[in-house]
């Protein structure tokens, strides 16, 4: 093949023993040297060290190399390190291939050094095959619009809008309800500061009104989206029925959560003495002194925790909420403190499964106890029962803190501490092609390292739309989304990796089979020399490759992972398998 004339360099890393303890790197090096085109093969103690990188740069320049292979750790760790190194040496970064000798070889075959060495040599051979056919590729560049669409005007959305505006970006907030503020505005005083949520929201709203570059649309819905990162065009339906076309560079989704709605009869829900926590909080908002409930002074309250959270998948809930809503324990003990402030005579029983008032909220838990709240732990296998008896509620529970003895608590009010569930977000999922997690909340790319980015470039998630969060956590994540959007937009352009599909228009017959295969609508019809054909919109293409195998003409290839490259790699691997 034509590629064989290329001059290739191979660098094999010891990883300080992580690799060389199990893989005979010298042997691998010898094998690599025999491959056609390889003009230089070296081992190195730590390829990622500054000194080793410098050595590689010198080798590339001195030998005038056309491509290099670094056989080291996972590309997740150092792909960008070595791409940058190649660029510094004057070599196109896509002429570099990383072979994973550590996670996929030495670490996984500690019991078989010889086998590991043979496999290592094969992997390197495949890497060399890929480099041999690699082309120089250039990142594509898209100009970005200095504007952001924020969907949802809860605390997360409002706080994001303010921060974006202060960075000089224009902001459009779209809120389905007629008032902004989300849950925070509805719940009264909020932990940990006890500031009134409505006041918090009022302050945010006033601040928003003073900014020229924020537009808030209430009673509005996102209807349609086109374009991609840097250049989105979104149609919004206003309350008036009119539509608005917004041009933005990025989108932040901050649509929050829904409170779990218990089924009728679930822990007595529907009985006159049973409320959910949000319902009870609503009642507390107007109270000023001793509480009156159902015409009687409130004497005893029983809180029932984990309702609608931590459900067993086989409990007969097809869409069981198996996760912990994490905010409700704190919200419940905080509510008990509010009640105690209104009337210290009220007896409060907390029927919990595990007390998860993490972090500073532990202090609320302690304080609630100090003020006389009583905690009774129950076993999910033997949950409490709520019944109406002689006009009062009777809660029966096996008290785990007393060896499971059954007790009954006569209560005036039973509060179901309901968890957080995802909103019915199908419309948004459809419009933005956003992935949902198993729990139904929006999903990030990586929970630790890329917590607010989604697989759709330029679309970020914030607040409780991602997972149950407190106000502070919601705001923290919304500000993270702000910084990710600003980092994207303030530069004025985005660079996109060139691994997109390429259509060989000479072979394309315009059958359009591929159009349906693409989940990102990145293929569009076009005419080429008067013939029907298909074209790739590079900024929309994610390089997923779904179109490649459906083309009956084999006219589509994926840059960076072309058919020929992959075939050569497989051949290189198979060659060793035959020997063995």
């Amino acid at each position: 093949m034509s590629g064989e004339k290329k001059k290739i360099g191979v660098f094999i890393c010891h990883c300080g023993g992580n690799i060389s303890d199990y893989v005979d790197v010298e042997k691998v090096r010898e094998e690599a040297e025999k491959e056609p085109g390889v003009v230089l093969a070296k081992t190195t103690m730590f390829a990622c060290s500054d000194a080793a990188q410098q050595e590689m740069i010198e080798a590339i320049q001195k030998e005038n190399l056309d491509g290099i292979v670094v056989a080291s750790c996972s590309p997740k760790l150092h792909l960008y390190t070595f791409r940058a190194m190649a660029e510094r040496a004057g070599l196109n970064q896509y002429r570099y291939t990383q072979v994973n000798l550590r996670e996929q070889c030495s670490w996984s075959h500690r019991d078989d050094k010889e086998g590991a060495t043979t496999k290592g040599a094969s992997l390197v051979r495949a890497g060399i095959a890929k480099v041999r056919l690699s082309e120089s590729l250039e990142n594509s560049r898209v100009d970005t619009l200095p504007a952001v669409l924020v969907v949802g005007a809860g605390v997360a959305g409002m706080r994001a809008a303010l921060a974006l505006a202060d960075l000089g970006l224009s902001v459009h907030i779209v809120e389905t309800e007629n008032e902004p503020g989300g849950w925070t505005a509805k719940l009264g005083p909020a932990f940990p500061s006890n500031r009134d949520g409505a006041e918090l929201v009022r302050n945010l709203r006033e601040a928003i009104q003073t900014r020229q570059n924020i537009a808030l649309y209430t009673g509005a819905h996102v209807a349609e989206k086109s374009g991609s990162v840097g250049q989105f065009s979104v149609r919004v339906r206003l309350s008036s029925g009119e539509s608005l076309q917004l041009k933005v560079g990025a989108v932040i989704i901050a649509t929050g959560f829904d409170a779990y709605a218990p089924a009728k009869g679930e822990f007595g829900y529907g009985l006159p003495g049973v409320l959910t926590l949000p319902e009870f909080r609503h009642m507390l908002k107007t109270a000023r002194g001793p509480l009156v409930f159902n015409g009687r002074r409130l004497g005893t309250v029983a809180y029932l925790y984990c309702v609608g959270s931590r459900q067993e998948p086989d409990e007969g809930h097809p869409n069981a909420h198996t996760y912990c809503s994490r905010t409700c324990c704190a919200a419940a003990v905080h509510t008990a403190l509010l009640v105690n402030g209104l009337d210290p005579e009220v007896n409060q029983y907390h029927l919990f499964r595990d007390m998860r008032t993490y972090g500073k909220n532990e202090l609320l838990y302690e304080e609630a106890g100090r003020k006389g709240s009583v905690f009774v732990r129950w076993d999910p296998g033997d949950p409490p029962e709520v019944q109406e008896e002689k006009g009062r509620m009777m809660v029966r529970v096996a008290d785990l803190l007393d060896a499971g003895e059954r007790i009954e608590i006569p209560a005036d009010l039973v509060v179901l501490v309901t968890g957080m569930v995802p909103r019915p977000n199908q419309d948004l999922v459809h419009v933005f092609k956003l992935p949902l997690g198993k729990d139904g909340f929006f999903n990030e790319i990586h929970p630790k390292l890329r917590p607010v980015e989604t697989v759709i470039s330029g679309v970020f998630i914030a607040g409780a739309s991602q997972s149950p969060k407190t106000i502070a956590e919601s705001v923290a994540s919304s500000l993270a989304a702000v910084s990710k959007s600003a980092a994207l937009l303030l530069k004025g352009y985005v660079e996109l990796e060139p691994f997109v599909a390429r259509v060989d228009t000479a072979r394309c017959t315009g059958c359009n089979e591929c159009l349906a295969a693409c989940p990102y609508d990145a293929l569009e019809k076009t005419t080429e020399d008067g013939r029907q054909a298909v074209r790739v919109a590079a900024s929309l293409c994610k390089g997923g490759g779904a179109c490649v195998p459906v083309c009956p003409e084999g006219a589509i290839d994926l840059l960076g992972y072309s058919d020929s490259e992959v075939t050569e790699m497989i051949d290189a691997l198979a060659r060793e398998a035959v020997h063995a």
């Binding site: 106890g369 009583v374 007393d402 060896a403 003895e405």
Partner: protein, 380 residues
């Protein structure tokens, strides 16, 4: 059986000195560190605190746990929430003592030091008044105590008092048994079992032997002090209630005479014990003495004063000062009698009685249960 809770129990216990019940988060550190809990198969103090929090009044009445605790205070030191589990156990004993007492006086005295002091003063004045009104001829030439206070009259008074004390103690003990055994359940166990277990009561009553195993250091000494105090106390009771005719004589015997030796021992033991415990409470040296309720002080002070006035009177008599001796005698009785009448059935002393009783009733329960179970096991 499902037990109905009483949400007010934790407020009630606060009135008996259990102020920190609400602080407990049921972590169980206290139970883990307690040297007595595990060997008695209990889960105290944590479980007792939980019963208080939740409001399990009935179960609390039926559990022996509060009586198994001798308050070494290690639990209070290990509690991460500073919930003072040891003091809560003490408060629970006060509460239970009040619940057993049908007159309601025990509860009143625990909750109000003023009431207790008023009762003591009232009984004291009554005793003094009796002497002022009914004393015998006052011989001033030399000391003739048995003429001033004829021993058979005093003895009669003693017996009336002893009968009253016994009446209150026994009726309260019966109430305790009724509550502890779960009402009519108590009759399901044969009287023979009750009889056979009596030695359990006696040995615990006289020795408080479990105490020695309570706590790591120092409890041995506290236990010994307590035993000495109890022996002094019982000696005193025996001398004045049973042997008064032998004890209260006008003739002054030689120092080595048993009458004088036993009297001296009783006095010395009372002084040693009370001073020791008062100093400890004052300095808050032991964890168990860190939180003193008024009722704890009153009993100690009354005992101490009883011994002290006894010594003063004895000294005056030896010195041959008739008038002073008679007055000291009246004062001595005006302290000793209320100390007995108020403290024994209604005060701090009562818990010395209930504790072995609880241990006794527990072994009755166990023996009764194993007798019921036996045929089942045999069949299996």
């Amino acid at each position: 059986m499902t037990a109905r809770v009483d949400p007010n129990l934790h407020r009630e216990i606060a009135r008996f000195g259990g102020h920190d019940v609400d602080l407990c988060m049921n972590c169980g550190n206290c139970t883990a560190i307690c040297p007595l809990s595990e060997e008695s198969g209990g889960s105290f103090p944590r479980r007792v605190i939980h019963l208080l929090q939740v409001g399990r009044t009935e179960k609390l009445m039926q559990t022996v746990d509060p009586w198994l605790c001798y308050y070494c205070g290690e639990c209070s030191e290990s509690c991460p929430r500073d919930a003072n589990p040891g003091e809560t156990m003490m408060a629970t004993r006060r509460y239970l003592t009040a619940r057993y007492d049908w007159t309601g006086l025990a509860g009143l005295f625990y909750r109000s030091a003023a009431a207790e002091i008023a009762a003591l003063a009232l009984v004291g004045l009554f005793v003094a008044a009796l002497f002022v009104l009914f004393h015998g001829p006052v011989i001033t030439g030399h000391v003739e105590l048995n003429t001033f206070a004829p021993v058979h009259w005093v003895e009669l008074g003693d017996l009336v008092m002893a009968a009253a004390l016994t009446f209150f103690l026994l009726t309260n003990a019966a109430r305790m048994a009724w509550m502890f055994m779960g009402g009519t359940e108590m009759f399901k166990i044969s009287p023979a079992v009750y009889l056979r277990q009596v030695p359990v009561f006696l040995s615990h009553f006289f020795t408080q032997k479990r105490w020695r195993r309570c706590g790591s250091g120092g409890s041995q000494k506290r236990w010994l002090t307590h035993v000495i105090l109890v022996s002094g106390y019982l000696s005193m009771l025996t001398l004045v209630l049973v042997l008064l005719r032998w004890f209260q004589t006008d003739r002054v015997y030689a120092v080595y005479n048993p009458q004088r030796l036993w009297g001296y021992y009783a006095t010395a033991a009372l002084l040693y014990g009370t001073v020791n415990f008062m100093v400890s409470r004052w300095r808050k040296a032991d964890p168990m003495h860190r939180f003193s309720e008024a009722s704890d002080w009153i009993f100690l002070v009354m005992l101490f004063l009883t011994a002290l006035t006894g010594i003063v009177m004895h000294a005056l008599r030896i010195a041959g000062l008739p008038m002073a001796t008679y007055i000291a005698y009246v004062i001595h009785l005006a302290i000793a009698v209320p100390m007995l009448v108020v403290e024994v059935p209604f005060g701090k002393w009562a818990h010395l009685f209930y504790r072995p009783l609880a241990l006794y009733l527990t072994s009755v329960k166990e023996a009764g249960a194993s007798r019921v179970k036996a045929p089942v096991e045999a069949a299996a």
